[in-house]
């Protein structure tokens, strides 16, 4: 019988995945005011790339590192090539382009790798960890650990490096950034690259649990959106907190609320999104949106 603590840890592990993807979503939203509906598919696709490398015999951490680099470059290229022509276009146009990207990546993965469900290895040993009589999965703990390290690195990058400062500036005030000689377009590209990098880590961490198939990230992405919405789409910190929260809520609701069980999980995400958008659209930590007339 799983105790509450086990459920919470388990929830935090899924929450870590949501938090990473939510951070990726918020980074892009802050820079370009775009909700990247294709973020999950980008993560899925890079996970497949990792899988190819593993199949070719590469050791796990080498494939991991290579995938992360490829994801970064891929994200950068996608922004510069696909998104840049429509950056200033209407909301609808950008949404449509992102959905187009989603669909292309999904079908590309299906075409190259087929729709057969594949297993994906976890770098963490399968033996459970026993702490004070309670059993925890090492993969869960590993996911939480890796995610926290990643998030700290991203935070440090933005806070303490000049490039990070320039990227934040470009997101906040592109016009003034240009007056400082900052190449705003490339900053946006870097933002997408970093977001894709973070997403690729999330993909590789979650694939061992939910198995690799082209549609694997749909549910996760919507939960990441729920987390970002709950935490505040304008706040990276909020997105991370929101992601963890949503993971825990999902797990606890699934276990303790018999009405929901495991069958209505996606509806829970829908419920969270709608509830937050109606009651407090800026989320827990976001800034209030002021509409200028």
């Amino acid at each position: 019988m799983d105790t509450l603590l086990q459920q919470i840890v388990s929830g935090l592990a899924t929450g870590a995945i949501y938090a990473s993807l939510a951070l990726a979503l918020v980074m892009i939203y802050q820079a370009t005011e775009i909700l990247n509906f294709a973020q999950g598919e980008m993560a899925m696709f890079t996970t497949y790339l990792a899988w190819s490398m593993l199949k070719a015999g590469l050791p796990y951490w080498m494939a991991f590192a290579a995938t992360v680099v490829v994801a970064f470059v891929g994200g950068l290229l996608i922004e510069r090539v696909v998104i840049r022509p429509v950056e200033q276009a209407s909301v609808l146009t950008i949404v449509i382009v992102c959905i187009g990207l989603l669909v292309i990546l999904n079908s590309l993965a299906g075409w190259i790798y087929s729709y057969i469900i594949q297993p994906f290895p976890s770098p963490f040993p399968k033996t459970p960890l026993r702490i004070g009589g309670i059993v925890f999965g090492l993969h869960d703990l590993g996911v939480i650990g890796v995610t926290l390290v990643l998030l700290c690195l991203v935070y440090a990058f933005f806070r303490y490096t000049t490039l990070g400062l320039a990227m934040r500036a470009a997101a906040q005030n592109p016009a003034s950034s240009r007056l400082c000689g900052i190449r705003v377009g490339w900053m946006l590209g870097l933002g997408w690259g970093l977001a894709a990098l973070v997403g690729s880590v999330a993909g590789m961490l979650v694939a061992p649990v939910i198995f690799l198939e082209p549609n694997m990230m749909f549910g996760i992405q919507i939960y990441a959106f729920a987390g970002a919405t709950l935490g505040g789409i304008t706040s990276p910190f909020g997105a991370v907190v929101g992601g963890f929260l949503v993971g825990v809520i999902e797990n606890l609701a699934g276990t303790y609320v018999p009405l929901i069980g495991t069958e209505l999980k996606l509806t829970v995400a829908l419920g969270i999104i709608i509830l937050v958008l109606l009651v407090r659209p800026r989320g827990l930590f976001g800034q209030a949106v002021v509409r200028r007339v």
Binding site: A89, T93, I96, I99, G100, V293
Partner: protein, 333 residues
């Protein structure tokens, strides 16, 4: 002279449409029925997204609602199919209108997100209430037989019923958009605050548009279910909603005739592309979505309209208003 030509052209197309079932095989007739059904959905979705500017990535939900309303009424309550179609429309209208009320508070991106989440939840919700919906197995229906003693096969009968309803909806929509409601709807898309300042009840119009849009889609869902003679949850997944989006993009955002172009596209492309590979239709959809946003933001119908307008001098204000690419969410200092 020009409008006489257009009238003649439309008339010719109508004659062709009426004669088709006598020329084509049963399967092709079914495909064209599906095209009329899709055209109704696209008409409704375009009304909401193209003309009124409310982005919906979840119209598959209303399609499913219509389909299951029809199926449940027939299967559980023995209602004659003729009544189930208006019922599907009515139920969808109410649900759409009710959904439109909270949607008022959601800006473009947030509404897109909420409707996307809705689209994702539909199969799960349908499977959950399995005592009504038949769960994963779905509900089997029988194709309705021709009424009024006409000697038509079930496929052909459904073809004419769908075509008739489509024509009615086309006429209704055209009239709606040509009148004051139409101008109000477009004004709300282009500048909601100015619209409110001009005395338009933005909230009411937006919710009503949602309702009407859902109504068209629900009617289509019911007819679609009858045409296939089967409803099952996994058909109504997020990809269906995305298919509808492809339809209005290719056909033309903010265009009535575009509904038919778009329907033709989304019906036939998968048929032929699937010969290449299972994944091909979606790759094509994706390329078209992105390509059209780069090159033809107003879709096929808009492209023709632009060509006509450029040939004739002087732009005429049309209720088939060009889709403006000004979202208004960036305030330039």
């Amino acid at each position: 002279m020009r409008s006489a030509l257009r009238l003649l052209g439309s008339g010719a197309l109508l004659v062709v449409a009426v004669l088709l079932p006598f020329v084509l095989s049963g399967f092709r007739v079914f495909q064209f029925t599906q095209i009329w059904v899709y055209a109704m959905v696209l008409l409704g979705l375009n009304l909401l997204t193209g003309y009124n500017g409310q982005i919906s990535l979840g119209h598959g939900a209303f399609y499913a609602l219509g389909a299951y309303t029809t199926a449940i009424l027939i299967d559980h309550f023995g209602v004659p199919y003729g009544w189930t179609i208006p019922a599907a429309g009515a139920v969808s209208f109410v649900v759409g209108f009710l959904f439109g009320i909270p949607a008022l508070r959601l800006e473009g991106l947030h509404l897109a997100l909420a409707t996307f989440a809705l689209a994702l939840s539909v199969p799960q919700i349908l499977k959950y209430f399995d005592s009504w919906t038949g769960g994963s197995q779905g509900i089997v229906l029988s194709k309705p037989r021709a009424a009024f003693g006409l000697t038509l096969g079930p496929d052909q009968w459904l073809y004419y019923v769908s075509l008739a309803i489509l024509l009615i909806l086309l006429a209704l929509t055209r009239n709606l958009l040509r009148g004051r409601p139409g101008r109000a709807i477009v004004a709300i898309r282009d500048n909601p605050i100015a619209a409110r300042a001009m005395g338009i009840d933005v909230a009411l119009y937006k919710s009503l548009t949602f309702g009407v849009s859902a109504c068209y889609t629900g009617i289509a869902g019911g007819l679609g279910g009858l045409a296939v003679a089967f409803v099952a949850p996994d058909t109504y997944n997020v990809f269906l909603s995305i298919t509808f989006l492809v339809g209005i993009v290719v056909g033309g955002l903010g265009s009535i005739a575009g509904a038919i172009f778009g329907a033709l596209f989304i019906q036939f492309v998968p048929n032929y592309a699937q010969e290449i590979s299972k994944a091909a239709p979606w790759a094509i959809y994706g390329l078209f979505l992105i390509g059209f946003m780069y090159l033809m933001p107003r879709g096929v119908a808009g492209f023709f309209r632009e060509a006509r307008r450029r040939r004739s001098s002087g732009a005429r204000a049309d209720t088939e208003a060009p889709f403006t690419s000004e979202g208004g969410h960036h305030a330039e200092a």
